[in-house]
């Protein structure tokens, strides 16, 4: 029962943390709750579908179907988080100002609402499918399945709770710094997801490793530990990274940062569209 709880907790944790970060970072954007909820709902449907089709998926693309699907989902999330961050780099300040003066949701420009949906969908689908598959298997297993199901649900609840705590914690950041803090968090998260995608593409034999285990810090901080796991989710910590993972990590970091600087740069006289 405890083992089941732990497994489900870890599966749910990643999705919960990502949803919490996205919810926090989109603070003040009108309609964001509906889009995030939509992403979670669709994600649950997607997770169930993937779990249902797990055997077909495993057999597809020469046994690489799952890794390739994971990589595709992760890359979609990377693109959407990039969009979100770039948009925020030019609207964050205004958003913060309006939030502190009005305290209500803001309607500015073309908001990256679809990005919120895709990112939460991706997170919930990917992690949720593993959780659903696991729960389904124990439920079908009979015997001690009741206690295991209870353990599993407890694990899910605990994962969601940690996500909630992170969200509440984020909201305590003073408004002045809020969007720059969430931008950095999302930047690191995005780079980490890109590195994960590279790992999957390498696992599927589609990208070269460019050196396995460039370094090994597992004796300092094991990826199996709770801290290692949290850092893996939040900033992409990998104890024994391959060259391709490092390349994707740094490449994403630099690219997103450059885009944010480029778009967020204040004052381009002709680009200043008057705000009513």
């Amino acid at each position: 029962m405890l083992a089941t709880a732990v497994i489900l907790f870890r599966e749910v944790l990643e999705a919960a943390l990502i949803v919490a970060i996205v919810l926090g970072a989109s603070r003040g954007i009108a309609g964001r709750g509906r889009w995030v909820a939509g992403g979670v709902g669709l994600g649950l449907v997607g997770a169930s579908l993937i779990a249902l089709l797990a055997a077909d998926l495993a057999a597809s693309l020469g046994g690489n179907g799952q890794a390739i699907l994971n990589a595709a989902i992760l890359l979609a999330a990377v693109v959407m988080l990039t969009w979100h961050n770039v948009w925020m780099s030019s609207h964050g300040r205004k958003l913060a100002a309006e939030l502190s003066s009005v305290g209500a949701d803001v309607q500015t420009g073309k908001r990256p609402l679809a990005a919120l949906l895709v990112v939460t969908f991706a997170a919930v689908t990917r992690e949720g499918s593993e959780a659903v598959l696991f729960l389904w298997a124990i439920a079908a297993g009979g015997g001690q399945s009741l206690s295991m199901t209870i353990g599993g649900l407890a694990g899910v609840a605990a994962g969601v709770l940690v996500g909630l705590l992170l969200y509440r914690g984020l909201l305590r950041i003073p408004l002045r710094h809020f969007f720059s803090v969430t931008s950095w968090i999302i930047l690191l998260l995005t780079a980490g997801l890109a590195a994960q995608a590279a790992g999957y593409l390498n696992q599927a034999g589609l990208l070269p490793a460019l050196g396995n285990g460039l370094w090994d810090t597992s004796h300092l901080l094991s990826q199996a530990s709770i801290v290692g796991q949290l850092l893996h989710i939040l900033v992409g910590y990998i104890a024994r990274p391959s060259g391709i993972q490092l390349l994707f990590y740094v490449g994403t970091l630099v690219t997103v940062l450059a885009l944010m600087r480029l778009v967020g740069r204040p004052k381009r006289p002709r680009a200043e569209t008057a705000s009513p």
């Binding site: 055997a55 799952q66 890359l75």
Partner: protein
Amino acid sequence: MPARPLAVRRPHSMARPSLLAPSAAVLLALALVFAAAPARADASPVITIDGQGFQPSELALPPGKKVKLTIHNKGPLPAEFESYDLSREVIVPPGSKVTVYVGPLEAGRYKFFNDFNQSQKGVVVVKPDEADAQGGQ
């Protein structure tokens, strides 16, 4: 005055718009996905999982080579083949076979486990080339 006074400068330092990098990465990834679909069929090592655990639980692989592993779940429960040392993670539904490429690896021991049942463990052992050539133990 020469006609092209600045021609000495190499043009390679021109800054490119940085949108190129992520799009290129994504396109490259997608291109690879579609290009590499039919996998080369070599004789590849198979690791099976069942109620007892991994079979073999210790797998010897050659150094410096990319190897295609097949993970076959013969048990009734889904398993997740996972290794932090190899940076690998894949779900193996009951009755299914999945493919995992590993390497090229340096000599060493690389632990793996079933994330859905962590009492099930195994290790990939890569021995250095020279020791093999000189007859090993």
